[in-house]
């Protein structure tokens, strides 16, 4: 089970998802998803709302507990461990340790309103990684500079625009130096004129070789940045491949249908 399939370079994938299922009561949101993401790969997930793409993302770092299936990052099981033949859930502390490696950018930013931009970016390095204040602040300032906000270091989130808030949220994730970054419709809550600045930062991260899984409605962005595009519908991966194929020459009728809708907007 742990042998990894036909990776081109033979290395184990950074992220490996096996037969993932998720039910909310009667509702089956994920119906068996398998996915592998290589180190440095950029994968975009598109699909209609309710297709399960956000739930898939949230399962990867166990914000949602999967109802079935397993997730591995760098070969390590996420959220559970093997005890003999059985899988048991990790303790809060063990789970928290695993989550440090997985950055998550939310649609609604979720900045901490009681902390400044710098405070938002330094709190986890200080409280989780145990860095000293000086080291954490140095790193925090670098990350804020990287997202183009060195002039907003001492501002509180309520004084920042949506685009600026999302960039702080990205800096906050970067400060933890995660192996994998997950973006959950990171630009969907933004006014149209603010989307560009966030996409620019994401593109820059992609260019630097970060491993990213991006749930998005920005087809143009997905086509330019991704190595692979995945189309999901009704809790399953319907089609995947290079963006040129999935986005411009889709094989599946459902993918065609969806893209037509998106473009008609």
């Amino acid at each position: 089970m742990s042998t990894v399939g036909s990776e081109a370079n033979g290395r184990q994938p950074l992220l490996k998802i096996e037969n993932l299922h998720k039910r909310f009561g009667e509702l089956e949101v994920l119906r068996g998803v398998d996915l592998e993401v290589r180190r440095g790969e950029k994968v975009s997930i598109i699909g209609p709302s309710g297709s399960g793409k956000t739930t898939l993302l949230r399962c990867i770092n166990y914000l949602e507990k999967p109802s079935g299936g397993h997730i591995y990052i760098d070969g390590t099981l996420i959220g559970e461990k093997k005890s003999g033949e059985n899988y048991v859930h990790l303790s809060d502390r063990e789970l928290a340790r695993e989550r440090q490696e997985i950055g998550f950018v939310f649609q609604r930013f979720n900045l901490f309103p009681h902390l400044t931009a710098l405070g938002n970016v330094t709190i986890a390095p200080q409280r989780v990684l145990g860095l000293s204040r000086e080291v954490a602040e140095k790193r925090g300032r670098e990350m804020l500079q990287k997202v183009g906000l060195s002039h907003k270091v001492d501002e509180y989130p309520e004084r920042l625009s949506g685009g600026q808030q999302q960039r702080v949220a990205i800096a906050r994730v970067l400060a933890m130096q995660p192996k994998l970054m997950l973006f959950d419709e990171a630009t969907s809550a933004l006014d149209p004129e603010l989307i560009g600045e966030v996409l620019r930062v994401m593109r820059q991260l992609a260019d630097e070789g970060s491993t990213m899984v991006i749930v998005t409605h920005e087809i143009q962005f997905a086509s330019e940045v991704s190595d692979r595009v995945i189309f999901m519908d009704q809790g399953r991966i319907v089609e995947q491949g290079p963006p040129k194929e999935v986005l411009f020459k889709p094989r599946e009728p459902r993918t065609r249908e969806f893209l037509k809708h998106i473009q008609a907007r």
């Binding site: 809060d92 502390r93 950055g103 979720n110 309103p113 009681h114 409280r127 906050r172 994730v173 933890m176």
Partner: protein
């Protein structure tokens, strides 16, 4: 003797006597408030726990202490505990009684405050690698505290007034001294009115603080 003459003749004596009860009143108020602040938070966290074994006793506790009169609770502690081998002093009984009672009410204020913080805050903290406990400590509670301060101040006002029942277990606070003065002079109205006025002198400023906190609650800075 008419009312005003009484005040003129005996007013200063009443005033100084009642004033000497304030250290006891404040000791009980502050002591039970401190107790309720700490214990109420524990109860609130237990009520929101994942584990039934913690939730259930906490819920029973809150129901019991909110559903029975504080005076009954006080009597159980002061007059009932000796039956099981522990005789609390009047102060101990008063602080424990009002503290346990207050913790039940405060736990609900804590709970409402914590639940008013958007789920995304906890989630963001978790994704950054914090344990639920740290997320509560560094992210949720500091924000919830802001929401909770106005109702907590109101609670402190209620608690201060409720200390007037602890004369029943022998604490020599303002109300106990007022009753002694009445027994001594048989002049109820001026004495009790003066006692009431003294409570007002403390509660009105507190209420104003609560109102100001309420106004400031929305803006962060």
């Amino acid at each position: 003797m008419n009312f005003f003459q009484i005040i003129e003749d005996k007013g200063w004596y009443f005033f100084t006597t009642l004033l000497s009860g304030w250290p006891a009143t404040l000791t009980v108020a502050i002591g039970s408030l401190a107790f309720a602040l700490v214990f109420g938070l524990i109860v609130a966290l237990m009520r929101m726990s994942r584990w039934k074994l913690l939730r259930w006793p906490a819920t029973a506790y809150v129901e019991f202490f909110r559903g029975t009169p504080a005076l009954v609770q006080l009597f159980v502690i002061y007059f009932g505990f000796p039956d099981v081998g522990y005789q609390p002093s009047p102060f101990q009984a008063a602080i424990l009684g009002l503290g346990l009672n207050g913790a039940a009410y405060l736990s609900e204020i804590y709970r409402a405050g914590i639940e008013s913080i958007h789920r995304g805050q906890m989630e963001a903290a978790l994704t950054l690698g914090m344990t639920p406990r740290r997320a509560m400590q560094y992210i949720v509670l500091p924000q919830a505290l802001r929401t909770m301060l106005p109702p907590m101040t109101n609670f402190a006002i209620v608690l201060l007034k409720d200390t007037s029942i602890v004369f029943t277990v022998g604490v020599l606070e303002v109300m106990a001294l007022a009753r002694q003065l009445v027994t001594e002079t048989l002049m109820s109205a001026p004495i009790y009115l003066m006692a009431g006025a003294m409570y007002l002198c403390v509660t009105i400023p507190m209420a104003r603080v609560a109102a100001r906190l309420e106004r400031q609650r929305q803006a962060w800075h």
